[in-house]
């Protein structure tokens, strides 16, 4: 009988729902606190009772990523794989993967100094969006609407302690309605999609920023793009974020590795945790 481990550092709605789903399906499972695990180069797989497949659900990106590397080193099957986490957790690498696979995405420039960053911002034209290459929940994403603000933000980034702040990810401001789309892909299926509306006085649409959600019909175009984007980053359980560009149609701007689905579950007819567990079981049996 297949056994599933749900590894996390905080039990949120998602982890609890996944655990409850395994229980209702009669699948042996447990929630494991990522903070309690220690793994060495000498460790043996048998010393870790983590079952046949692991759902990596850590809210801390780096903790989840490097723990996944260690678990894969021990031979465990982890969803998502380290390589997928590494790509999705970095917007620059994700953009490159999307471009390599000819997936429509916002025009983006990468610059490696304050001077070239400001030059790229001017070249793109205002308004423009400056994003940190690593970061979640919309943190640090700045819509820049004039040169003065752009200079100030770049100056602040230069003074920041993180070397990643000096990598400039400059993206065109897509002409879109005040919403984006999150499509949850599990394996080779687009399971559900939602519109995410930005809250009042907020331009970002992240649910973590108070955005509202509404069920979105999965169109052929959306399904095709979501599946291609998921494949481009290596596949697994993913949240593909898209915008509706008024001229070009859908463009993919992000692929999320540890997809949160509380918002989607509140409006979707799909049983998201059930699909996730079924996917994990299938992978375990491979």
């Amino acid at each position: 009988m297949v056994e599933v481990s749900i590894i996390c550092d905080k039990v949120r709605f998602e982890e609890k729902t996944l655990y409850e789903k395994t229980q209702s399906k009669g699948i042996k499972s447990k929630i494991v606190d990522a903070k309690t695990l220690t793994i060495g180069t000498y460790s043996k797989t048998k010393d870790f009772l983590l079952g046949d497949v692991i759902l990596q659900r850590s809210v801390s990106y780096y903790r989840g990523l490097y723990l996944t590397a260690c678990l894969e080193f021990l031979g465990f099957k982890v969803i998502n794989r380290f390589e997928v986490g590494q790509i999705c957790g970095n917007k620059l690498i994700t953009s490159i993967k999307l471009a390599q696979n000819k997936i429509p995405s916002p025009k983006t420039q990468f610059a490696f100094s304050a001077e070239s960053g400001l030059e790229s911002i001017k070249k793109t034209g205002f308004p423009v969006v400056l994003k940190p290459i690593v970061g979640s929940w919309g943190r640090g994403i700045c819509p820049l609407r004039d040169p003065e603000t752009a200079s100030m933000i770049v100056e602040m980034r230069e003074e920041d302690d993180s070397p990643l702040s000096r990598i400039y990810y400059i993206q065109e401001m897509v002409d879109r309605p005040p919403r984006d789309i999150r499509c949850i892909v599990i394996g080779d299926q687009a399971v559900t999609a939602i519109y995410r509306y930005s809250s009042q006085s907020e331009w970002r649409t992240n649910v973590a920023r108070g955005g509202n959600v509404e069920l979105a019909p999965i169109t052929k175009e959306m399904e095709d793009l979501a599946l291609r984007a998921a494949k481009a980053v290596g596949g697994g359980i993913l949240g593909v974020d898209m915008m509706e560009d008024k001229n070009r149609g859908l463009v993919v701007h992000e692929v999320n590795n540890t997809v949160e689905f509380r918002g989607a579950a509140s409006v979707s007819k799909a049983d998201i945790p059930n699909e996730m567990i079924d996917y994990a079981i299938k992978l375990a049996r491979k």
């Binding site: 996390c8 550092d9 905080k10 039990v11 949120r12 982890e15 609890k16 655990y19 929630i31 606190d33 903070k35 809210v59 801390s60 990106y61 780096y62 903790r63 690593v134 970061g135 979640s136 929940w137 943190r139 973590a208 949240g239 999320n256 590795n257 540890t258 997809v259 949160e260």
Partner: protein
Amino acid sequence: MKSKVECQECGAEISVPEDAVVGEIITCPDCGGEYEIASKADENLKLKPAERVGEDWGQ
């Protein structure tokens, strides 16, 4: 299992739902202090201060 614990910050009473599981975060209704359920066996309900939101938290 006891379902009420004292907030380590302000002393208020925090109700822990019956179906809460180890690792879940509960919040003090008075001061907003956040705690992680550290253990939950019989009468032994233990809380520890929850981790602060990290720079790399999120999906």
